[in-house]
Symmetry: C2
Subunit: 227 residues, 2 copies
DNA sequence: ACAGCTGTTGAACGATGGTTCAGCGTACTG
DNA sequence: CAGTACGCTGAACCATCGTTCAACAGCTGT
């Protein structure tokens, strides 16, 4: 769009009110586009347009699309870590995705994470590992305080809870269609998902009697198959 | 690769022992490649190579890559429905993915489903809706028989359980890394995931006291935000 | 004022991929 | 045996995309 005739005092800040440096603008534009359309369906030119720069500048700053993607992974992982540590001071508990929904202004972190979780990325993998470790610690703490039931396999339980929570985030499109719940946005609109999820996770679905009855059956079935 | 000088009695069955018709071979090859690499990263030529035909024939039979993808969606959805109805005679219960793991010989249905769940497809969407409806029915039956706890929101509970189960399947790569569990293969190797998952889903993670205590808090928080 | 550096652009190149098409061989039909 | 239809191939076409490169503008130091 030609505002080429206007002022243009300095190369930076060519379009609207965004006075950050070009690399930062490009990185956030890439995160936004990657989150919305996926990495493969996003072209370097589309990122450049979103950032208000030329395609050449994107490659000039980041070398290649793959390196840009790696930079986005690292940046998002860092932001999520910061957000998480800030939330740990407060006391956001079990849901590892809860701490990310409050992030409103910047790039769409949860949507980017949902994409990257299925595409695969070493940086995000270690982030997930950290989430599991944090969850395990949280669960142990809740166990000590009498809030949570003890588990036969604390680490396994932490892994499963993280998988459940992030899996629902990855399937946010279906959660929207099935329940009308927006898992990516602000905590508003979470209710239709959060209430039944809490019911299931808090109290389970089995009656106490059938739990005691079915438990050894499953253990035998699984261990019997693993010979 | 010329075996053009040889026999070639009939155009079909050009390579190894696969006497199915070319469209069926192409469709299954596409399902395999789509499941392994994703739709975007799979070229028509790669599908043709996997099926042992030329790229032109793929488009000759299916019109376009997108129509081929739609045909794969429909075929996989049909196979899953058959598999599900066959399993309903037996009695495979809660886990909607369990019925698909037993499918060993044909194309990788679960892996294809995991890809398509995030890419989005109308055909698969209605399949998921059916899974939720089936799960709700199963849960109601278990409720009546005294096996399962009653729920304040039966449909919400069914949705959440399907989301958890399919979400874990979509994140099978992380389940493998975190737990060493293979969520796509045969029921062997499921143990490291299934045991803690059963523990969480069956009995919940909260102690009965804290459940009764926390429950109204969450309800107030959610409904209070939804004004 | 001159040289040099940095940020930036626009055009161009090579590769890949989806799609089209003319032609070839084989099987059925009259 | 002639003719038509069909399955199938290989080459070619065109768009898109990642990437490279020469050139340009503004700032900086001398």
């Amino acid at each position: 769009m030609g505002s080429t005739t206007s002022s243009a005092t300095t190369p930076p800040s060519p379009i609207s009110g965004d006075d950050r440096s070009s690399p930062a603008r490009i990185r956030d534009a890439a995160i936004t586009r990657f989150a919305a359309d996926g990495v493969d369906r996003t072209s370097v030119r589309a990122i450049a347009t979103e950032a208000g720069v030329s395609a050449g500048l994107v490659l000039h700053h980041f070398g290649s699309k793959e390196q840009l993607r790696a930079a986005c992974d690292e940046h998002v992982a860092g932001l999520i870590r910061d957000q998480k540590h800030a939330a740990m001071q407060a006391g956001a508990g079990l849901d590892p995705a809860a701490v990310l929904r409050s992030y409103g202004d910047g790039p769409p972190l949860l949507a980017y994470l949902a994409r990257t979780l299925v595409d695969g990325s070493p940086k995000v993998n270690t982030l997930i590992d950290e989430m599991v470790a944090d969850a395990e610690e949280y669960l142990a703490e809740g166990e000590r305080s009498g809030l949570l039931r003890p588990s036969d396999d604390p680490r396994g339980r932490a892994c499963v809870l993280v998988l459940f929570s992030l899996g629902a985030v990855v399937l946010h499109e279906h959660a929207e269609r099935l329940l009308g719940a927006d898992l990516l946005g602000a905590p508003d609109g979470l209710g239709p998902y959060m209430l039944p999820a809490f019911e299931v996770l808090a109290g389970g679905i089995l009656t106490p009697d059938s739990y005691a009855e079915l438990r050894p059956l499953l253990e035998d079935a699984v261990t019997g198959e693993e010979t």
